[in-house]
Symmetry: C2
Subunit: 208 residues, 2 copies
């Protein structure tokens, strides 16, 4: 026999909140234990609600969804948090995932997808709507036309790891002087004259 999945909804739009509740409760094995209009309202009751899944809106009055995630995780560590939002803002997506969200859905998804996402999250998956998935994948893509040579890329990567010139020389089995030359060339190609500025350019343009 399967255990009932306890679900909490935190969503300030009353109409959406009811719509979610309705569609979830139509699914057998799902139980909406509580609905809240803000995290601040949910805070004290979450522990007794003991949810397995939390549907969390990002645009909330008071503590916003992204800030709420770590607080939720403290209160109910085993609950999986699925973000629900109208916006596809990169920083928000990455901040939410970094804070511990298990999934990320845009509000235009179908009812079926929401149900599926809950099952997914329970199974340890990472439910995402398509647009989110494409944004996430794009965040991994490196720039293909870098001004830096292969060796230079290798070296700036090591610099990004905080390595000193002589550490780099040792690891690459080349002379310190060669490393110095490469770094000079990197700085010249990137039009900078310090490690931090070089890393700024390199990260901004996804060169590593």
């Amino acid at each position: 026999m399967q255990k009932t999945i306890r679900i909490v909804i935190i969503e300030d739009d009353q109409i959406l909140q009811h719509a979610y509740k309705q569609l979830i409760e139509d699914e057998c094995g799902f139980q909406v234990v509580s609905c809240y209009s803000s995290f601040d309202a949910a805070e004290k009751k979450l522990v007794t609600d003991d949810p397995g899944i939390i549907l969390l809106d990002i645009e909330l009055p008071g503590t916003n969804g992204v800030q709420a995630i770590p607080l939720i995780k403290k209160l109910v560590p085993k609950a999986m948090v699925i973000m629900l939002t109208v916006y596809e803002i990169e920083e928000q997506i990455f901040a939410a995932l970094a804070n511990g969200a298990s999934g990320y859905l845009t509000k235009d998804v179908s009812s079926a997808k929401i149900i599926e996402a809950i099952y997914d999250a329970r199974a340890g998956g990472g439910p995402m709507s398509k647009k989110i998935a494409s944004i996430v994948i794009k965040s991994f893509q490196k720039n293909t036309d870098s001004p830096l040579s292969k060796r230079e890329t290798e070296i700036i990567k090591m610099i990004s790891e905080g390595k000193k010139r002589n550490e780099i020389a040792d690891e690459l089995f080349i002379e310190l002087e060669t490393v110095k030359t490469h770094i000079k060339n990197i700085y010249s190609k990137l039009n900078v004259n310090s490690r931090s500025d070089a890393l700024k350019v390199v990260k901004k343009n996804r060169l590593i």
Copy 2:
């Protein structure tokens, strides 16, 4: 009228290759223009094949799938590459995505999912199987029990950006001496005595 999607399959398992070809050609609007058993075999013909989508196995004789991606992108830049593999090896996933793969499927997915993934990729989405999505999402999660305080985390993050102690002091509006103290405490908590070692620990444990 919709344009036919030209598809190339690079897969060394003959049985799978034929299976994919079959299921794709059953879908109206899809055309498998060529099948190859290795990238090296495909290389010279890819340009005339002019594919919109490439299904690419990772375990290939000769040039492997991950290495092949950038070469493919040079030959046919607008082609979307979807990886197909039995393994879920983190490094491989991230390397493939960094190299420009548009999607990543494990071979246990259903026929319908493969068809869907092709449509997705065409639409600019990022098709992933569930396990891959969960791995990708986990890669964003930060460690929640860090020994470092908030300020220390802030500072080690700036160190990871290549910033010098006095640059950090300026940005945080605190004295250089305070930054030095924080760094000393960071090193002591992480049991290291250099920037590079600190960054190694911090990245390994996802503290930033």
